[in-house]
Amino acid sequence: MTELLSVENMVVGFEGASRPTIGGISFTLRAGQRLGLIGESGSGKSVTALALMGLLPDTAHLSGSVRLAGRELVGLGDAKMARIRGREMSMVFQEPMTALDPTMRVGRQVAEVVRLHCARTGSGHTRERVCRMLEEVGLPDAERIADSYPFQLSGGQRQRVMVAMALINRPELIICDEPTTALDVTVQARVLDVLDRGLREVGAACLFISHDLAVVSQICDDVIVMYRGQIVEAGPVAVLLDHARHPYTRGLVATARLDEVAPGARLRVIEDFWDASQERR
Protein backbone atom coordinates (compact mmCIF):
# COMPACT_ATOMS: atom_id res chain seq x y z
CA MET A 1 0.00 0.00 0.00
CA THR A 2 1.25 3.45 -0.84
CA GLU A 3 1.64 6.12 1.74
CA LEU A 4 -0.44 9.22 1.13
CA LEU A 5 0.74 11.24 4.07
CA SER A 6 3.99 10.71 5.82
CA VAL A 7 4.93 12.78 8.85
CA GLU A 8 8.45 12.40 10.15
CA ASN A 9 9.80 13.89 13.33
CA MET A 10 7.50 16.90 13.12
CA VAL A 11 8.30 19.53 15.74
CA VAL A 12 6.15 22.61 16.35
CA GLY A 13 7.31 25.26 18.76
CA PHE A 14 5.79 28.60 19.66
CA GLU A 15 7.68 31.80 20.34
CA GLY A 16 8.21 32.26 24.05
CA ALA A 17 7.27 28.68 24.96
CA SER A 18 9.89 26.77 26.94
CA ARG A 19 9.28 23.43 25.24
CA PRO A 20 7.85 22.58 21.82
CA THR A 21 4.09 22.00 21.61
CA ILE A 22 4.66 19.07 19.29
CA GLY A 23 7.83 17.23 20.18
CA GLY A 24 8.84 15.27 17.13
CA ILE A 25 5.96 13.05 16.06
CA SER A 26 5.92 10.59 13.18
CA PHE A 27 3.03 8.74 11.59
CA THR A 28 1.78 7.72 8.17
CA LEU A 29 -1.56 7.59 6.46
CA ARG A 30 -2.34 5.32 3.50
CA ALA A 31 -4.68 6.39 0.71
CA GLY A 32 -8.23 5.97 1.95
CA GLN A 33 -7.16 5.13 5.49
CA ARG A 34 -8.96 6.69 8.42
CA LEU A 35 -6.80 7.55 11.32
CA GLY A 36 -8.18 8.81 14.60
CA LEU A 37 -6.11 11.21 16.66
CA ILE A 38 -7.13 11.35 20.29
CA GLY A 39 -5.73 13.08 23.31
CA GLU A 40 -6.71 15.49 26.02
CA SER A 41 -7.08 19.24 25.51
CA GLY A 42 -3.73 20.87 24.95
CA SER A 43 -2.06 17.65 23.87
CA GLY A 44 -1.34 19.15 20.45
CA LYS A 45 -4.10 17.61 18.31
CA SER A 46 -5.30 20.83 16.70
CA VAL A 47 -1.78 22.18 16.32
CA THR A 48 -0.92 18.99 14.44
CA ALA A 49 -3.87 19.56 12.09
CA LEU A 50 -2.95 23.19 11.46
CA ALA A 51 0.68 22.23 10.91
CA LEU A 52 -0.28 19.72 8.24
CA MET A 53 -2.46 22.34 6.53
CA GLY A 54 0.29 24.93 6.76
CA LEU A 55 -2.03 27.20 8.73
CA LEU A 56 0.03 27.69 11.86
CA PRO A 57 0.21 31.28 13.11
CA ASP A 58 3.33 33.37 12.45
CA THR A 59 4.52 32.78 15.99
CA ALA A 60 4.88 29.04 15.41
CA HIS A 61 7.95 27.29 14.08
CA LEU A 62 7.56 24.04 12.16
CA SER A 63 10.35 21.59 11.41
CA GLY A 64 10.69 17.98 10.37
CA SER A 65 9.04 16.52 7.33
CA VAL A 66 5.44 16.34 6.09
CA ARG A 67 5.00 14.60 2.76
CA LEU A 68 1.71 14.51 0.91
CA ALA A 69 1.76 12.06 -2.00
CA GLY A 70 5.53 12.24 -1.95
CA ARG A 71 5.73 16.02 -1.95
CA GLU A 72 7.43 17.83 0.91
CA LEU A 73 5.12 20.43 2.45
CA VAL A 74 7.37 21.86 5.16
CA GLY A 75 8.91 25.06 3.84
CA LEU A 76 6.53 25.32 0.90
CA GLY A 77 5.48 28.92 0.14
CA ASP A 78 1.98 30.28 0.69
CA ALA A 79 1.13 30.30 -3.02
CA LYS A 80 2.06 26.64 -3.50
CA MET A 81 0.41 25.59 -0.24
CA ALA A 82 -2.77 27.44 -1.25
CA ARG A 83 -3.01 25.34 -4.40
CA ILE A 84 -2.84 22.15 -2.32
CA ARG A 85 -5.29 23.33 0.34
CA GLY A 86 -8.89 22.75 -0.63
CA ARG A 87 -7.93 20.52 -3.55
CA GLU A 88 -5.58 17.76 -2.41
CA MET A 89 -6.18 18.22 1.27
CA SER A 90 -9.03 19.96 3.03
CA MET A 91 -10.23 20.52 6.54
CA VAL A 92 -13.43 20.57 8.61
CA PHE A 93 -13.20 22.70 11.73
CA GLN A 94 -14.75 22.35 15.15
CA GLU A 95 -16.89 25.47 15.30
CA PRO A 96 -19.55 25.52 12.56
CA MET A 97 -21.16 28.66 13.97
CA THR A 98 -18.21 30.88 13.12
CA ALA A 99 -16.40 29.01 10.36
CA LEU A 100 -18.39 30.53 7.50
CA ASP A 101 -18.18 34.13 6.29
CA PRO A 102 -21.28 35.79 7.80
CA THR A 103 -21.63 38.26 4.92
CA MET A 104 -21.69 35.76 2.05
CA ARG A 105 -24.33 33.30 0.89
CA VAL A 106 -23.17 29.76 1.63
CA GLY A 107 -23.71 28.61 -1.95
CA ARG A 108 -21.19 31.17 -3.10
CA GLN A 109 -18.76 30.11 -0.41
CA VAL A 110 -18.94 26.50 -1.59
CA ALA A 111 -18.72 27.61 -5.24
CA GLU A 112 -15.57 29.58 -4.43
CA VAL A 113 -13.83 26.38 -3.41
CA VAL A 114 -14.60 24.89 -6.81
CA ARG A 115 -13.61 27.97 -8.81
CA LEU A 116 -10.43 28.52 -6.84
CA HIS A 117 -9.04 25.23 -8.04
CA CYS A 118 -10.47 24.74 -11.50
CA ALA A 119 -10.40 27.92 -13.49
CA ARG A 120 -12.47 26.73 -16.43
CA THR A 121 -15.90 26.11 -14.97
CA GLY A 122 -18.97 28.04 -16.01
CA SER A 123 -21.00 29.52 -13.18
CA GLY A 124 -24.12 27.54 -14.14
CA HIS A 125 -22.17 24.32 -14.01
CA THR A 126 -20.59 25.28 -10.69
CA ARG A 127 -23.97 26.08 -9.19
CA GLU A 128 -25.28 22.70 -10.26
CA ARG A 129 -22.28 20.98 -8.76
CA VAL A 130 -22.63 22.94 -5.49
CA CYS A 131 -26.29 22.00 -5.15
CA ARG A 132 -25.59 18.34 -5.88
CA MET A 133 -22.86 18.36 -3.23
CA LEU A 134 -25.18 20.02 -0.69
CA GLU A 135 -27.75 17.31 -1.35
CA GLU A 136 -25.11 14.66 -0.84
CA VAL A 137 -24.28 15.98 2.61
CA GLY A 138 -27.91 15.71 3.60
CA LEU A 139 -29.30 19.12 2.73
CA PRO A 140 -32.18 18.12 0.43
CA ASP A 141 -33.39 21.70 0.03
CA ALA A 142 -30.08 22.57 -1.62
CA GLU A 143 -31.26 25.52 -3.72
CA ARG A 144 -32.66 27.32 -0.70
CA ILE A 145 -29.64 26.47 1.48
CA ALA A 146 -27.27 27.76 -1.20
CA ASP A 147 -29.09 31.08 -1.20
CA SER A 148 -29.03 31.37 2.58
CA TYR A 149 -26.60 33.27 4.73
CA PRO A 150 -24.86 31.35 7.52
CA PHE A 151 -26.93 33.05 10.22
CA GLN A 152 -30.06 31.61 8.66
CA LEU A 153 -28.83 28.03 9.12
CA SER A 154 -28.57 25.79 12.17
CA GLY A 155 -25.24 24.51 13.51
CA GLY A 156 -25.83 21.12 11.96
CA GLN A 157 -26.66 22.63 8.58
CA ARG A 158 -23.59 24.84 8.71
CA GLN A 159 -21.36 21.90 9.53
CA ARG A 160 -22.84 20.00 6.59
CA VAL A 161 -21.97 22.98 4.41
CA MET A 162 -18.42 22.81 5.79
CA VAL A 163 -18.29 19.10 4.97
CA ALA A 164 -19.52 19.90 1.47
CA MET A 165 -16.74 22.49 1.08
CA ALA A 166 -14.18 19.93 2.22
CA LEU A 167 -15.44 17.18 -0.10
CA ILE A 168 -16.39 19.06 -3.25
CA ASN A 169 -12.97 18.96 -4.91
CA ARG A 170 -12.60 15.27 -4.02
CA PRO A 171 -9.35 15.70 -2.07
CA GLU A 172 -7.17 12.76 -1.14
CA LEU A 173 -6.97 13.78 2.49
CA ILE A 174 -9.52 15.41 4.77
CA ILE A 175 -8.55 16.58 8.21
CA CYS A 176 -11.44 16.81 10.65
CA ASP A 177 -10.77 18.71 13.85
CA GLU A 178 -13.51 17.68 16.28
CA PRO A 179 -16.15 18.18 13.60
CA THR A 180 -19.08 17.18 15.81
CA THR A 181 -18.00 18.38 19.24
CA ALA A 182 -19.96 21.62 19.01
CA LEU A 183 -23.16 19.95 17.83
CA ASP A 184 -26.14 18.41 19.64
CA VAL A 185 -25.78 14.71 20.21
CA THR A 186 -28.59 13.83 17.80
CA VAL A 187 -27.19 16.09 15.10
CA GLN A 188 -23.71 14.69 15.79
CA ALA A 189 -24.72 11.20 14.71
CA ARG A 190 -26.23 12.42 11.45
CA VAL A 191 -23.29 14.65 10.54
CA LEU A 192 -20.91 11.78 11.29
CA ASP A 193 -22.97 9.55 9.07
CA VAL A 194 -22.78 12.09 6.25
CA LEU A 195 -19.05 12.45 6.73
CA ASP A 196 -18.63 8.69 6.76
CA ARG A 197 -20.52 8.26 3.50
CA GLY A 198 -18.82 11.25 1.90
CA LEU A 199 -15.36 9.94 2.72
CA ARG A 200 -16.22 6.55 1.29
CA GLU A 201 -17.73 8.06 -1.84
CA VAL A 202 -14.76 10.34 -2.49
CA GLY A 203 -12.30 7.69 -1.38
CA ALA A 204 -10.44 10.20 0.72
CA ALA A 205 -8.18 9.41 3.62
CA CYS A 206 -9.06 11.08 6.88
CA LEU A 207 -7.24 12.30 9.92
CA PHE A 208 -9.99 12.49 12.48
CA ILE A 209 -9.25 14.47 15.61
CA SER A 210 -11.49 13.91 18.58
CA HIS A 211 -11.57 13.32 22.27
CA ASP A 212 -14.69 11.23 21.90
CA LEU A 213 -13.63 7.60 21.80
CA ALA A 214 -17.04 6.43 20.65
CA VAL A 215 -16.95 8.69 17.64
CA VAL A 216 -13.41 7.67 16.74
CA SER A 217 -14.24 4.00 16.95
CA GLN A 218 -17.23 4.56 14.69
CA ILE A 219 -15.34 6.44 11.98
CA CYS A 220 -11.75 5.25 12.10
CA ASP A 221 -9.76 2.12 11.33
CA ASP A 222 -6.72 3.09 13.34
CA VAL A 223 -5.96 5.49 16.09
CA ILE A 224 -2.99 7.32 17.53
CA VAL A 225 -2.97 8.73 21.03
CA MET A 226 -1.22 11.99 21.79
CA TYR A 227 -0.11 13.11 25.19
CA ARG A 228 1.81 16.29 25.85
CA GLY A 229 2.92 16.71 22.25
CA GLN A 230 4.03 13.11 21.80
CA ILE A 231 2.44 10.07 20.23
CA VAL A 232 2.25 7.60 23.08
CA GLU A 233 0.40 4.80 21.40
CA ALA A 234 -0.85 3.73 17.97
CA GLY A 235 -2.73 0.81 16.47
CA PRO A 236 -6.06 -0.46 15.16
CA VAL A 237 -8.95 1.10 17.05
CA ALA A 238 -10.45 -2.06 18.51
CA VAL A 239 -7.16 -3.55 19.64
CA LEU A 240 -5.78 -0.37 21.05
CA LEU A 241 -8.79 0.70 23.04
CA ASP A 242 -9.34 -2.72 24.55
CA HIS A 243 -5.72 -3.44 25.27
CA ALA A 244 -4.31 -0.05 25.99
CA ARG A 245 -0.75 -0.38 27.18
CA HIS A 246 0.14 3.20 27.88
CA PRO A 247 -1.25 4.35 31.25
CA TYR A 248 -2.56 7.53 29.67
CA THR A 249 -4.60 5.63 27.11
CA ARG A 250 -5.99 3.39 29.84
CA GLY A 251 -6.84 6.51 31.78
CA LEU A 252 -8.49 8.00 28.75
CA VAL A 253 -10.67 4.97 28.24
CA ALA A 254 -11.58 4.89 31.90
CA THR A 255 -12.34 8.60 31.98
CA ALA A 256 -14.52 8.25 28.95
CA ARG A 257 -16.42 5.52 30.72
CA LEU A 258 -16.86 7.63 33.85
CA ASP A 259 -18.11 10.50 31.70
CA GLU A 260 -20.76 8.29 30.24
CA VAL A 261 -22.26 7.55 33.64
CA ALA A 262 -24.00 10.90 33.17
CA PRO A 263 -27.72 10.60 32.36
CA GLY A 264 -29.36 10.78 28.96
CA ALA A 265 -28.24 10.03 25.47
CA ARG A 266 -24.54 9.79 26.16
CA LEU A 267 -25.10 6.52 28.01
CA ARG A 268 -26.29 4.98 24.81
CA VAL A 269 -23.24 6.26 23.00
CA ILE A 270 -20.88 4.38 25.27
CA GLU A 271 -22.92 1.24 24.85
CA ASP A 272 -22.63 1.65 21.11
CA PHE A 273 -18.94 2.12 21.57
CA TRP A 274 -18.47 -1.15 23.41
CA ASP A 275 -20.70 -3.03 21.00
CA ALA A 276 -18.84 -1.62 18.04
CA SER A 277 -15.43 -2.46 19.40
CA GLN A 278 -16.50 -5.96 20.30
CA GLU A 279 -17.92 -6.55 16.86
CA ARG A 280 -14.70 -5.42 15.28
CA ARG A 281 -12.76 -7.79 17.43
Binding site: A82, E95, D101, F151, M165
Partner: protein
Protein backbone atom coordinates in the same frame (compact mmCIF):
# COMPACT_ATOMS: atom_id res chain seq x y z
CA UNK B 1 -43.30 46.76 0.21
CA UNK B 2 -41.38 46.01 3.38
CA UNK B 3 -38.47 48.11 2.24
CA UNK B 4 -40.80 50.96 1.33
CA UNK B 5 -42.47 50.94 4.73
CA UNK B 6 -39.09 50.80 6.45
CA UNK B 7 -37.96 53.85 4.52
CA UNK B 8 -41.23 55.66 5.26
CA UNK B 9 -40.80 54.93 8.94
CA UNK B 10 -37.23 56.20 8.90
CA UNK B 11 -38.28 59.40 7.15
CA UNK B 12 -41.03 59.98 9.70
CA UNK B 13 -38.54 59.58 12.54
CA UNK B 14 -36.19 61.92 10.70
CA UNK B 15 -38.86 64.61 10.37
CA UNK B 16 -39.96 64.27 13.99
CA UNK B 17 -36.38 64.53 15.22
CA UNK B 18 -35.82 67.65 13.15
CA UNK B 19 -38.98 69.25 14.49
CA UNK B 20 -38.06 68.61 18.12
CA UNK B 21 -34.51 69.78 17.50
CA UNK B 22 -35.71 72.98 15.86
CA UNK B 23 -37.70 73.83 18.99
CA UNK B 24 -34.70 73.18 21.22
CA UNK B 25 -32.40 75.19 18.97
CA UNK B 26 -34.84 78.10 18.90
CA UNK B 27 -35.21 78.15 22.68
CA UNK B 28 -31.49 77.92 23.36
CA UNK B 29 -30.57 80.53 20.78
CA UNK B 30 -33.20 82.94 22.09
CA UNK B 31 -31.97 82.44 25.63
CA UNK B 32 -28.65 84.08 24.71
CA UNK B 33 -28.32 87.39 26.52
CA UNK B 34 -28.33 90.48 24.34
CA UNK B 35 -29.91 90.81 20.90
CA UNK B 36 -29.21 92.10 17.45
CA UNK B 37 -30.75 95.50 18.11
CA UNK B 38 -28.01 96.12 20.65
CA UNK B 39 -25.35 95.04 18.15
CA UNK B 40 -26.66 97.36 15.45
CA UNK B 41 -26.94 100.42 17.65
CA UNK B 42 -23.66 99.88 19.47
CA UNK B 43 -22.77 99.94 23.17
CA UNK B 44 -23.65 103.61 23.68
CA UNK B 45 -27.26 103.44 22.48
CA UNK B 46 -29.96 104.39 24.98
CA UNK B 47 -32.64 101.93 26.07
CA UNK B 48 -35.54 103.64 24.30
CA UNK B 49 -33.97 103.55 20.83
CA UNK B 50 -33.05 99.88 21.32
CA UNK B 51 -36.65 99.16 22.32
CA UNK B 52 -37.89 101.03 19.25
CA UNK B 53 -35.60 99.01 16.94
CA UNK B 54 -36.71 95.79 18.60
CA UNK B 55 -40.31 96.68 17.81
CA UNK B 56 -39.55 97.46 14.15
CA UNK B 57 -37.62 94.18 13.83
CA UNK B 58 -40.39 92.21 15.50
CA UNK B 59 -38.11 91.01 18.31
CA UNK B 60 -40.61 91.98 21.01
CA UNK B 61 -43.29 89.62 19.77
CA UNK B 62 -43.88 86.44 21.85
CA UNK B 63 -41.42 83.61 21.03
CA UNK B 64 -43.98 80.98 19.96
CA UNK B 65 -45.06 83.34 17.20
CA UNK B 66 -41.48 83.96 16.08
CA UNK B 67 -40.76 80.21 16.24
CA UNK B 68 -43.75 79.35 14.06
CA UNK B 69 -42.76 82.05 11.61
CA UNK B 70 -39.23 80.66 11.36
CA UNK B 71 -40.21 77.01 11.09
CA UNK B 72 -42.98 77.80 8.62
CA UNK B 73 -40.49 79.70 6.49
CA UNK B 74 -38.02 76.79 6.62
CA UNK B 75 -40.69 74.41 5.38
CA UNK B 76 -41.31 76.61 2.36
CA UNK B 77 -37.59 76.99 1.73
CA UNK B 78 -37.31 80.48 3.14
CA UNK B 79 -35.23 80.79 6.28
CA UNK B 80 -35.85 84.51 6.58
CA UNK B 81 -33.31 87.29 6.34
CA UNK B 82 -30.19 88.05 8.28
CA UNK B 83 -31.08 90.50 11.01
CA UNK B 84 -27.81 92.29 10.37
CA UNK B 85 -27.31 92.50 6.63
CA UNK B 86 -30.85 91.90 5.47
CA UNK B 87 -29.63 89.26 3.02
CA UNK B 88 -31.72 86.07 2.71
CA UNK B 89 -30.25 83.55 5.18
CA UNK B 90 -30.09 80.71 2.68
CA UNK B 91 -28.25 82.85 0.14
CA UNK B 92 -25.78 83.70 2.90
CA UNK B 93 -25.30 80.10 3.98
CA UNK B 94 -25.18 78.43 0.55
CA UNK B 95 -21.65 79.39 -0.53
CA UNK B 96 -20.28 78.78 2.99
CA UNK B 97 -21.83 75.33 3.08
CA UNK B 98 -20.14 74.57 -0.25
CA UNK B 99 -16.73 75.48 1.21
CA UNK B 100 -17.21 73.35 4.30
CA UNK B 101 -18.72 70.57 2.22
CA UNK B 102 -15.68 70.41 -0.08
CA UNK B 103 -13.28 70.59 2.83
CA UNK B 104 -14.97 67.83 4.80
CA UNK B 105 -15.74 65.39 1.98
CA UNK B 106 -12.33 65.72 0.32
CA UNK B 107 -10.61 65.56 3.72
CA UNK B 108 -12.50 62.42 4.70
CA UNK B 109 -11.95 60.83 1.28
CA UNK B 110 -8.22 61.41 1.57
CA UNK B 111 -8.29 60.12 5.14
CA UNK B 112 -9.89 56.88 3.96
CA UNK B 113 -7.41 56.52 1.10
CA UNK B 114 -4.56 56.87 3.61
CA UNK B 115 -6.05 54.94 6.51
CA UNK B 116 -7.29 51.77 4.83
CA UNK B 117 -3.97 50.55 3.40
CA UNK B 118 -1.99 51.80 6.40
CA UNK B 119 -4.47 50.21 8.81
CA UNK B 120 -4.34 46.90 6.94
CA UNK B 121 -0.54 47.00 6.85
CA UNK B 122 -0.41 47.81 10.55
CA UNK B 123 -2.70 44.84 11.26
CA UNK B 124 -0.91 42.33 9.03
CA UNK B 125 2.52 43.35 10.28
CA UNK B 126 1.54 43.98 13.90
CA UNK B 127 4.23 41.68 15.20
CA UNK B 128 6.95 43.28 13.12
CA UNK B 129 8.75 46.55 13.51
CA UNK B 130 7.15 48.23 10.49
CA UNK B 131 3.66 47.37 11.73
CA UNK B 132 4.44 48.86 15.12
CA UNK B 133 5.82 51.97 13.48
CA UNK B 134 2.53 52.46 11.59
CA UNK B 135 0.56 52.01 14.79
CA UNK B 136 2.88 54.45 16.56
CA UNK B 137 2.52 57.05 13.82
CA UNK B 138 -1.23 56.74 14.12
CA UNK B 139 -1.00 57.42 17.86
CA UNK B 140 1.20 60.42 17.17
CA UNK B 141 -1.20 61.71 14.52
CA UNK B 142 -4.08 61.48 16.96
CA UNK B 143 -2.15 63.46 19.52
CA UNK B 144 -1.45 66.33 17.12
CA UNK B 145 -4.28 68.89 17.09
CA UNK B 146 -5.60 69.66 13.61
CA UNK B 147 -4.70 73.35 13.86
CA UNK B 148 -1.09 72.51 14.69
CA UNK B 149 -0.84 70.16 11.73
CA UNK B 150 -2.34 72.92 9.60
CA UNK B 151 0.10 75.54 10.79
CA UNK B 152 3.08 73.24 10.30
CA UNK B 153 1.96 72.55 6.74
CA UNK B 154 1.57 76.28 6.14
CA UNK B 155 5.07 76.96 7.45
CA UNK B 156 6.62 74.33 5.19
CA UNK B 157 4.60 74.45 1.98
CA UNK B 158 3.36 78.04 1.94
CA UNK B 159 6.03 80.03 3.75
CA UNK B 160 9.25 78.09 3.13
CA UNK B 161 8.59 76.50 -0.24
CA UNK B 162 5.88 78.91 -1.49
CA UNK B 163 4.26 76.07 -3.40
CA UNK B 164 0.75 76.69 -2.16
CA UNK B 165 -1.27 79.62 -0.82
CA UNK B 166 -1.28 79.88 2.96
CA UNK B 167 -4.95 80.78 3.21
CA UNK B 168 -8.03 82.07 1.44
CA UNK B 169 -10.48 80.48 -0.97
CA UNK B 170 -11.45 80.71 -4.63
CA UNK B 171 -14.72 79.35 -5.92
CA UNK B 172 -14.57 76.22 -8.08
CA UNK B 173 -16.64 77.84 -10.85
CA UNK B 174 -14.38 80.88 -10.93
CA UNK B 175 -10.98 79.23 -11.14
CA UNK B 176 -10.74 75.45 -10.74
CA UNK B 177 -6.94 75.52 -10.50
CA UNK B 178 -6.94 78.16 -7.79
CA UNK B 179 -9.74 76.35 -5.99
CA UNK B 180 -7.69 73.17 -5.88
CA UNK B 181 -4.52 74.95 -4.79
CA UNK B 182 -6.31 76.71 -1.96
CA UNK B 183 -7.89 73.50 -0.73
CA UNK B 184 -4.76 71.28 -0.71
CA UNK B 185 -3.35 72.34 2.66
CA UNK B 186 -6.64 72.47 4.59
CA UNK B 187 -7.75 69.12 3.17
CA UNK B 188 -4.39 67.49 3.92
CA UNK B 189 -4.23 68.78 7.48
CA UNK B 190 -7.76 67.61 8.13
CA UNK B 191 -7.00 64.22 6.56
CA UNK B 192 -3.83 63.70 8.60
CA UNK B 193 -5.63 63.89 11.90
CA UNK B 194 -8.73 62.01 10.77
CA UNK B 195 -6.75 59.24 9.10
CA UNK B 196 -4.72 58.79 12.26
CA UNK B 197 -7.94 58.08 14.13
CA UNK B 198 -9.24 55.88 11.34
CA UNK B 199 -6.02 53.82 11.10
CA UNK B 200 -6.57 52.67 14.66
CA UNK B 201 -10.04 51.38 13.87
CA UNK B 202 -9.06 49.81 10.55
CA UNK B 203 -6.12 48.11 12.26
CA UNK B 204 -8.14 46.67 15.12
CA UNK B 205 -10.96 45.63 12.75
CA UNK B 206 -8.49 43.70 10.61
CA UNK B 207 -6.76 42.16 13.60
CA UNK B 208 -10.20 40.91 14.65
CA UNK B 209 -10.94 39.54 11.20
CA UNK B 210 -7.58 37.78 10.87
CA UNK B 211 -8.38 35.89 14.07
CA UNK B 212 -11.86 34.88 12.92
CA UNK B 213 -12.67 31.26 12.13
CA UNK B 214 -14.06 32.15 8.71
CA UNK B 215 -10.75 33.71 7.76
CA UNK B 216 -9.01 30.45 8.64
CA UNK B 217 -11.65 28.62 6.59
CA UNK B 218 -10.91 30.85 3.63
CA UNK B 219 -7.25 29.96 3.90
CA UNK B 220 -8.06 26.26 4.36
CA UNK B 221 -10.03 26.09 1.12
CA UNK B 222 -7.13 27.50 -0.83
CA UNK B 223 -7.18 31.30 -0.76
CA UNK B 224 -3.74 32.77 -0.55
CA UNK B 225 -3.25 35.02 2.44
CA UNK B 226 -3.63 38.31 0.54
CA UNK B 227 -6.64 37.13 -1.44
CA UNK B 228 -8.33 35.90 1.74
CA UNK B 229 -7.83 39.34 3.27
CA UNK B 230 -9.42 41.06 0.28
CA UNK B 231 -12.13 38.50 -0.31
CA UNK B 232 -13.32 37.71 3.19
CA UNK B 233 -11.58 40.29 5.34
CA UNK B 234 -12.37 43.62 3.72
CA UNK B 235 -16.14 43.50 3.84
CA UNK B 236 -16.32 42.18 7.39
CA UNK B 237 -13.77 44.68 8.64
CA UNK B 238 -15.43 47.59 6.84
CA UNK B 239 -18.65 46.85 8.71
CA UNK B 240 -16.83 47.64 11.92
CA UNK B 241 -15.17 50.76 10.53
CA UNK B 242 -18.29 52.16 8.89
CA UNK B 243 -19.89 53.41 12.10
CA UNK B 244 -16.74 55.24 13.12
CA UNK B 245 -16.53 56.76 9.67
CA UNK B 246 -20.06 58.14 9.89
CA UNK B 247 -19.37 59.54 13.32
CA UNK B 248 -16.20 61.25 12.09
CA UNK B 249 -17.95 62.74 9.08
CA UNK B 250 -20.80 64.08 11.18
CA UNK B 251 -18.42 65.58 13.74
CA UNK B 252 -16.37 67.21 11.03
CA UNK B 253 -19.24 69.20 9.56
CA UNK B 254 -19.45 70.92 12.91
CA UNK B 255 -15.79 70.66 13.87
CA UNK B 256 -14.13 71.80 10.67
CA UNK B 257 -14.33 75.30 12.12
CA UNK B 258 -10.81 74.97 13.53
CA UNK B 259 -9.29 74.26 10.12
CA UNK B 260 -11.47 76.92 8.52
CA UNK B 261 -10.04 79.45 10.94
CA UNK B 262 -6.41 78.43 10.42
CA UNK B 263 -6.75 78.74 6.64
CA UNK B 264 -9.20 81.65 6.69
CA UNK B 265 -11.73 79.67 4.69
CA UNK B 266 -15.17 81.28 4.45
CA UNK B 267 -16.94 78.16 5.68
CA UNK B 268 -19.99 77.39 7.73
CA UNK B 269 -18.06 77.42 10.99
CA UNK B 270 -16.71 80.94 10.57
CA UNK B 271 -20.16 82.23 9.62
CA UNK B 272 -21.67 80.55 12.66
CA UNK B 273 -19.09 82.04 14.96
CA UNK B 274 -19.48 85.59 13.69
CA UNK B 275 -23.27 85.30 13.68
CA UNK B 276 -23.29 84.16 17.30
CA UNK B 277 -21.08 87.10 18.25
CA UNK B 278 -23.41 89.54 16.50
CA UNK B 279 -26.58 87.84 17.80
CA UNK B 280 -27.79 87.36 14.22
CA UNK B 281 -30.28 84.77 15.37
CA UNK B 282 -31.96 83.81 12.07
CA UNK B 283 -28.56 82.84 10.69
CA UNK B 284 -27.45 80.99 13.85
CA UNK B 285 -30.67 78.99 14.08
CA UNK B 286 -30.58 77.95 10.47
CA UNK B 287 -26.91 76.94 10.48
CA UNK B 288 -27.38 74.78 13.56
CA UNK B 289 -30.51 73.32 11.99
CA UNK B 290 -28.59 72.44 8.82
CA UNK B 291 -25.82 70.86 10.87
CA UNK B 292 -28.30 68.75 12.79
CA UNK B 293 -29.97 67.67 9.55
CA UNK B 294 -26.57 66.76 8.07
CA UNK B 295 -25.69 64.63 11.07
CA UNK B 296 -29.05 62.85 10.84
CA UNK B 297 -28.66 62.28 7.11
CA UNK B 298 -25.12 60.94 7.51
CA UNK B 299 -26.27 58.57 10.23
CA UNK B 300 -29.14 57.45 8.04
CA UNK B 301 -26.83 56.79 5.10
CA UNK B 302 -24.37 54.88 7.32
CA UNK B 303 -27.27 52.79 8.58
CA UNK B 304 -28.42 52.08 5.05
CA UNK B 305 -24.96 51.12 3.82
CA UNK B 306 -24.46 48.88 6.85
CA UNK B 307 -27.72 47.13 6.05
CA UNK B 308 -26.75 46.66 2.44
CA UNK B 309 -23.37 45.24 3.43
CA UNK B 310 -24.47 43.07 6.34
CA UNK B 311 -27.13 40.43 5.61
CA UNK B 312 -27.85 40.01 9.32
CA UNK B 313 -28.89 43.65 9.69
CA UNK B 314 -30.87 43.43 6.46
CA UNK B 315 -32.89 40.54 7.82
CA UNK B 316 -33.49 42.46 11.05
CA UNK B 317 -34.67 45.48 9.10
CA UNK B 318 -37.20 43.56 7.04
CA UNK B 319 -38.52 41.83 10.14
CA UNK B 320 -38.94 45.15 11.90
CA UNK B 321 -40.60 46.64 8.83
CA UNK B 322 -43.06 43.77 8.46
Amino acid sequence: MRVASTIARELLIFAATLLVTSLIIFMVVNLLPGDVAGTILGPNADASSIAALRTTMGLDRPWPLRYLEWIGGLLTGDAGRSALSGQPVLALIGPKLAVTGWLVTLGMALAIVIAVPVGIAAALRRKHLDGLIWAGLSQLGMAVPAFLAGMLLVVVFAVQLSWLPANGYVRLAEDPGGWARHLVLPVVSLAIVQSAVLVRYVRSAFIDVLGEDYFRTARAVGWRFGSAVLRHGLRNASLQVLTVLGLQLATLFVGAIVIENVFVLPGLGSLLLSSVNQRDLPVVQTIVMIQVALVLVINGVVDLVARLADPRLRAEATEAGA
